[in-house]
């Protein structure tokens, strides 16, 4: 029984690591650009599909070679959407940006469906038998997920607190006008924000697809989870997003004891509603 509990917690932490990567990217874009990017989920999905594309037939690259190009392509989508769509709308109101990013999300999702169809796919890696450890089973992939996530979070910490660009990003996120007055180049900082948010999304998507599978709908549902994690941790708060992601991952896996697994994806939403009802001061409705 206790090993069952440990297994649930381990699965929760695994999912939590991935959700944290999603949520940190989402909250970063929100902090710097001040809008919720609905298309963030689609960056997650395209990251996973780019890897699939590189590892499949004509190219058949091994995972280790395909990883960086896949992330690079995901970043290109992020930067491209900023250059073509969000940059001309920099001064637009938030609701215009919202509809635009919803449109972009729909465009990207169906784009993936056009190329790869709606069916569920996997990377076709051979399934390795899990190692037993304290009565808990864990595969090498899963160890990799945890290691990569922790590494990412550590690198992000270094970036935000030690590098000039990271500090600029935090400054812009605090107060755009003031940051401009201080001579922080906002255009370059915004581009770097997209680079980081897209790589986090792409990497998270790849890790998720390694552990489970790929399908064009994976972006939307993970966007909702990332958003719930963001709310849980306080919007625009990077470490809050990390914490929120973990909570959601754990809650989802623990919920299986009580609820039908068909509702696993609804847990994030449930947590969000409960939180809003009892802690409505986190995000309040006034102010445009």
């Amino acid at each position: 029984m206790s090993s069952f509990l440990l297994q649930t917690i381990l699965n929760g932490i695994l999912a939590g690591c991935i959700y944290s990567l999603f949520a940190m990217g989402l909250t970063l874009i929100y902090g710097v650009l001040n809008f919720v990017n609905f298309a963030h989920g689609e960056l997650i999905m395209w990251g996973a599909y780019f890897l699939y594309f590189l590892m499949e037939k004509p190219l058949s690259l091994p995972l280790s070679f395909a990883l960086l190009p896949a992330l690079f392509l995901t970043v290109l989508i992020g930067l491209g959407s900023d250059r073509l769509i969000f940059k001309p709308l920099r001064k637009a109101n938030r609701l215009t940006l919202l509809i635009t990013s919803l449109g972009l999300s729909f465009l990207l999702r169906n784009g993936a469906q056009l190329f790869w169809g709606a069916e569920i796919r996997t990377y076709g890696l051979e399934i390795k038998k899990g190692m037993r450890f304290l009565g808990v089973s864990i595969t090498l992939n899963q160890v990799a997920i945890i290691v990569v996530s922790v590494l990412c979070i550590f690198l992000l910490y270094l970036f935000f607190y030690k590098s000039r660009m990271g500090k600029s990003m935090r400054a812009i996120s605090d107060d755009l006008e003031l940051a401009r007055v201080m001579g922080i180049p906002s255009d370059r900082t915004i581009q770097w924000t997209w680079v980081i948010a897209s790589s986090l999304a792409g990497l998270g998507g790849i890790l998720l697809a390694l552990d489970t599978n790929l399908h064009p709908g994976m972006g939307l549902i993970n966007l909702v989870k990332a958003f719930a994690a963001t709310l849980l941790g306080g919007v625009g708060n990077l470490w809050g997003a990390l914490f929120g992601g973990m909570i959601i991952g754990l809650a989802e896996n623990i919920s299986i004891w009580i609820l039908s697994p068909g509702y696993k994806d609804a847990i994030a939403f449930g947590i969000m509603v409960v939180m809003l009802l009892f802690r409505s001061s986190v995000v309040f409705s006034s102010k445009e």
Partner: protein, 295 residues
């Protein structure tokens, strides 16, 4: 001729659907991205009740009531959120309602869907043939249009517009913004439910796959393309987009291409949303700004 009648029925149903969303997005400034949930609740409720031999009048009323109640329950927590967060919360709600349709197999038959939904019989008149059904939907569409127009032109509607333009000013004038928004959301949900009822009895088969984000994007695009915050915009948008979408279905394409048709069409919808926002955010019909509006 039948094709034309079919297109007209579908357009009218989507006109009702879009008008209800326009009340929320266009007039109240509530960015509801889960409107399909209420469409689905209306469709499933009425379908289930009539399949269990309840009269259509009762099924319709229960369906509208349930749509309104679920709108109320959703709005209580989510309307505490600011505009864009409200958008994602409603988007999530839409997905969850679909999960309920899919998972509660004892009630909804899950992914199998509900076949054989009977044609409605209202006040002992049966609306079975296509022209009859057209009359029914036309009646409901006119009713919806008149009721929603009445609401928008009333003092209540002017407060909604005031909230959309400047929430703080509306609050300073003593209006309870949260309550006005809830009321607008509930009314919108009820009429979305009505559209769902009419749609379910028209197609006679519904399944969870009919209530995805695709419907949300379509109805949003109808409102945005036609012109949000206008009386005729959603009507124009619905006619244009439904004629476009439904006539694509009648293209005789070789089967190896038809797989690409649906994603392509939806990519066009997504791209249209972006292009509208970039180049003509006010839509085809532009809202006239009245004097005395808080702006």
């Amino acid at each position: 001729m039948d094709l034309f009648l079919h297109l007209s029925v579908m357009s009218l149903i989507y006109i009702i659907f879009a008008l209800s969303l326009n009340l929320e997005i266009g007039y109240t400034g509530l960015f509801n991205f889960g409107h399909v949930a209420f469409f689905g609740i209306g469709a499933y409720t009425s379908a289930l009740l009539t399949l269990h031999h309840f009269p259509f009048e009762i099924s319709l009323l229960v369906a509208l009531f349930l749509s309104g109640i679920s709108g109320f329950l959703l709005s209580l927590p989510s309307l505490r959120l600011r505009g864009d967060f409200f958008g994602i919360a409603t988007l999530g709600f839409g997905e969850i309602i679909r999960m309920v349709f899919q998972n509660e197999v004892w009630l909804t038959k899950g992914p199998m869907g509900l076949p054989g939904i009977p044609k409605p019989k209202l006040l002992s008149v049966r609306f079975a043939t296509l022209p009859q059904y057209l009359l029914l939907t036309l009646g409901f569409a006119i009713l919806t249009f008149l009721i929603l127009r009445g609401i928008i032109r009333s003092p209540f509607g002017r407060v909604l517009k005031g909230i959309r333009e400047d929430e703080i000013a509306a609050e300073a004038l003593g209006k309870n913004v949260y309550r006005f928004r809830i009321k607008s959301f509930v009314v919108g949900s009820i009429f979305a439910g009505l559209a769902g009822v009419l749609w379910g009895h028209y197609t006679t088969f519904i399944s969870p796959n009919d209530f995805t984000i695709i419907e949300t994007v379509l109805v949003l695009l109808i409102v945005v393309l036609g012109g949000k915050g206008t009386e005729w915009g959603p009507i124009l948008g619905a006619i244009l987009l439904i004629f476009f979408q439904e006539s694509l279905r009648f293209l005789r394409l070789p089967p190896e291409y038809s797989r690409y048709l649906a994603p392509l069409q939806q990519m066009i919808f997504g791209a249209l949303l972006i292009l509208m926002m970039l180049f003509r955010p006010e839509g085809l019909i532009k809202e006239r700004r009245e004097h005395g509006c808080l702006s």
